[in-house]
Structures are given as structure tokens and as C-alpha cells.
Chain length 299, copies 2
């Protein structure tokens, strides 16, 4: 029973039957729960209502800059209670993938072009992470000291606000010269929102290495399959009773559709009503103005 | 009279008739004159011989890390006398292009993702360069302070050993939000040689911005046309009496062919004899082991 156009949720009755249809809601964060550092109106009350009704909430984010523990702190600062277990980031998915799927050699290290969120998640699953120390300047004369490290078993690339040429050079030589070196990207978002403007995303930084090495990474994050496989396995989800909630049609909604989930697109972030209704974009099952509107069901 | 295979120069007679055919020789530097910091054998004597015979020498390099003044110093350190006027780098070509072709507004600034070589060349033609100071760390919280600067009239991108996220973010917002902002790349080399290994080149760093902004830059350097047009115009070259000498078939030799010049491929750098003779690569007019072999003609 495939919908040919998304169903708009706008009345209390719509909200009731929508909520009843699902056991689990996967939420994208930025543009849905908050915008940057500002909470979307009425979201805490809406999430409370879902919890009271026994729904399971999972927050799925491509942002690898923070660890799950950092995310718990961010939720708390914004007045939302959430546990680390409810948070599923691309950094965490990367760590779980390396440990459980790739059976990463415990004697090897991961070279990280990315933030402390990735490092923390890797270390939490017992994988040593290096690279964060490589911020020193380099010159053509000192570049020859940058050589492949046979202990590096994977290069992991995510958003890196402390990116340096030395890191990129290290990642490059390991990817090119270490035969079995895995190449994992936490996500491939072209841009990332930061207040009023968009800035280069993890996928844009990643393109240095895909271009220089001519290698293609395994991309974990939305809308790619590895993230969905990790989420479904980790929470033993029934796709028929799970809804993916997001603000981006080409990542969040596509991600939900690819995983066989129902999807809800909200208009508090990137997508507007015209793009939601366009025949040229991934078609969500539902759309509504804001997750906050579900707070109408709060007692 | 198009050659179907390159002619090998190996005897004194070959060298004599080759040298007689041209007034001007354009030389790539790395892999031809030197490798990294090591001079190729007998090159100074070969260049001296050409000068004694009244030939004009021009050194054409894609490397934008150094200014022409820096290059003169490097030549001198290696025992080769050369003047700044004989050196044509992609950084210099960029400066000349902005001033003479793009008629760059003297009240505007160029935002440089690149080294001091570009900054120096721009300032030498009277264009203010900013960006080199943007090496501070940034976070999602401070990122919103990175905003378009209406005084930025061009983003110039080259090899940058001090690349930072802050620079990339500034370049991105200026390219996206400043209506008339030019986008110039000094060169688009995928990799650069640095001793025993290759490392990400200017073209790989550039791909962050082409990906994030979805804009295509004007690429100055070899094998692209703007560099050739600048060289021909600057030195008033007669293509029929000019030979491009290089070690890379897909940049140097292609560059020469595109400009209607004769070409000489040497085997002291990237190309080997098999690739020179392959029907799948740009076909040089001539090839020889090393420029140094021309020293056989020295008195």
C-alpha cells in the first residue's frame, strides 16, 4: 500500500492515529528537535507524550563531532531527557561496524580525520584512535616524514574542525600504501548547517581523500544502508512499526524509505511544503509542520 | 606533419638538430630540473649551453606554494642562475590573470586558501590577500561567526600546508553568498610528489570547495589553457619555435600540445619509456633520458 503523495497530519485525530501506528520513532536531530542551539517549540512536551504512551525513541544523527555522551549533555542543556542508549550517531555506528562487522584487528589502530566524538566512540569499543595530534604545520621539506604506518588498519573520516594538511597526508599514504587499510566515512553530507549559513560538510572534507587516493569509502551515515542495518540490528526494530522522522528528503526520508520504514517529514528544517509535495523528491508517508505539534496530545 | 610516435633523442646529432629547431624552451621543474630538493645530473651545464646559444628559458610550474622570488632562491641554492622573469608559476599566472584579464576591482580582496607564494604574487600586482590568518580552531558554536565578506571579490585556491576548517568555511560562504565572487584555482594536480611518496595535491584540496559549493573554478595551471595563454602573451612566443619540456604526459606534454607547441618528454620524473610510447597517452614530439644529456653539446 504505497502512498502516491505524503499524507498531511494537521488535526488531533491525525496525530492520534499516526502515533498509534508505531512502537518506535527514529528522530533526526538538527532541523527536527533543534536548530543549531535553539530548541524547536513544544518538542519536549511532544517527546514526553510519546514516552508516556510507551513509545521507544531513538535519535539518529549523522553528526560525528560529538560522542553519544556529548549528545546526552546537549539534550540535557536544552531541557530534554535522553540516555546514551537512545542516541545513534554516525560515529557510534562506525565504532560498532568496525568492532562487530569488520572484526577490526585489536592490535591495529584507526587513523581519524575527524573530531573527538569519533575518537571517544572508537575508544569505547576498544579501538585505539590516532590522528588528532597531527595538527602541526608541514612543508614540502618535512612532508617526506609523513609515511605509512603499518599499524593503521583503518582510516575514518568525518567532520573535522581541526583538519590539517598533515592529517590528510597521513590518511592518504595509509590508504594508498597499507594493503588492507579500511576506508570508512561517518557520513557524506555535502554541507552542514551552522546558524544562518551552511558550511562544508563531512562529505566535502572527505572528497580530498576520495580524489587524492581514487578510493571509495564505506559511508556509514544516512541515507546509506550501513547506518540503517546497525540501527535495526541494535534495537531489533520491526520496520512495519517504526517511523523515521526528519527534515531532509534526500537523507532522512530516503533513509527511512530504503530501510522499509514509514516516514514523517517535518517543515522545521530544510524541506518546505513544496519540496515535500514535489514528484521529484523521495515521497514521505506523512508530513506535518513540526514534531512540536504532537504536543497537542499531551495530557 | 604530425608525428605518430615520439622521436627519441640519443645522439649528439639528435641534440644539435633538436636545439636548432627552437628559440624558446619551457621547462617544468619537478622531475625535470630537480626531484624534490635534488638536482637532476648535468642540468646546470645543459641550461648553460642553451643560454650560450641564445635560447630563451622559461620555467613553468604548477606549484603555487612558492613565489617567483622564492623560486629564484631555490634555483640559486641548487647552483642554477635564473631570474624571476624566467619563472612562470601558477601563482604568478593567477595574479596576472586577476589584474589583466579579470580587471580585478582594486577595492576588493582575494580570499586565499593557499600558501604565501600566492599571497606574495597577488600583493606584487596590487591585490590585497586575506585568509592566511584564519588558522584558529572553530566549533559548531563559533562557526556562525564565519560570514560572507562583501569585500571579497575572489577566492583563490592552491596547495595549502596550513589548511584549516575556518579557511574552507570562509571560502565556502564567500563563494556561495557573494554574487560576483570569482573562483580561481592555481592548478588541479591530484597529487604532489614529496620525496618517496605522493601526497594530496592542490586539486584534491580544491575538491572540498567544488563539492561543497557545487561551483567549478577557473583552473590556471597546466594542462589548462589559461596558463598557456598567459605564457604565450607574456613572452610573445612563436609556437612553431617553442618546445615544452616535461616529465608528465597528462599535464606537461598535454599542455604543450594544447598550446600548439612541440614537446619533449624526459624520463627523470613520472613518465617512463613505456608510457611515452603508449598509444593511450598524449604523444610527445620528442623524448630523451634527461635534460642533462644535452650537456653533451657544452663546449
Amino acid at each position: 500500500m504505497e502512498a502516491t503523495a505524503p499524507m498531511r497530519l494537521s488535526t488531533r485525530g491525525d496525530y492520534e492515529s499516526f502515533v498509534d501506528r508505531f512502537d518506535t520513532f527514529l528522530f533526526d536531530c538538527d532541523g527536527v528537535i533543534w536548530n543549531g542551539t535553539t530548541l524547536v517549540d513544544n518538542v519536549p512536551a511532544a517527546l514526553d507524550m510519546l514516552r508516556r504512551r510507551g513509545k521507544r525513541l531513538v535519535f539518529v544523527t549523522n553528526n560525528s563531532a560529538k560522542s553519544r555522551r556529548d549528545y546526552v549533555a546537549k539534550f540535557a542543556r536544552l531541557g530534554i531527557q535522553a540516555s546514551a542508549e537512545e542516541i545513534f550517531s554516525s560515529a557510534y555506528a562506525t565504532a560498532v561496524y568496525l568492532r562487530d562487522v569488520a572484526k577490526f584487528d585489536a592490535g591495529k589502530k584507526a587513523y581519524v580525520v575527524g573530531g573527538s566524538g569519533i575518537r571517544q566512540e572508537l575508544e569505547d569499543v576498544g579501538i585505539a584512535a590516532i590522528g588528532h595530534e597531527d595538527t602541526d604545520s608541514v612543508s614540502l621539506e618535512t612532508l617526506q616524514d609523513v609515511v605509512p604506518n603499518p599499524n593503521v588498519g583503518a582510516v575514518v573520516c568525518g567532520i573535522d574542525y581541526d583538519i590539517s594538511y598533515r592529517k590528510l597526508a597521513n590518511a592518504h599514504v595509509n590508504l594508498v600504501h597499507n594493503g588492507d587499510c579500511l576506508f570508512i566515512a561517518t557520513n557524506d553530507d555535502r554541507t552542514l548547517p551552522g546558524g544562518k549559513h551552511m558550511y562544508p560538510g563531512a562529505g566535502s572534507l572527505l572528497s580530498v581523500l576520495t580524489h587524492s587516493t581514487q578510493r571509495a569509502p564505506l559511508v556509514m551515515g544516512k541515507p546509506n544502508a550501513p547506518m540503517m542495518e546497525c540501527v535495526i540490528q541494535r534495537f531489533r526494530l520491526d520496520p512495519a512499526r517504526t517511523c523515521m522522522v526528519g527534515d531532509r528528503l534526500d537523507t532522512d526520508i530516503l533513509f527511512g524509505i530504503s530501510g522499509g520504514l514509514s516516514t514523517l517529514c517535518v517543515l522545521t528544517g530544510v524541506a518546505d511544503e513544496a519540496s515535500v509535495l514535489s514528484p521529484d523528491t523521495p515521497c514521505a508517508t506523512y508530513y506535518m509542520s513540526s514534531v512540536g505539534d504532537l504536543s497537542a496530545l499531551a495530557p
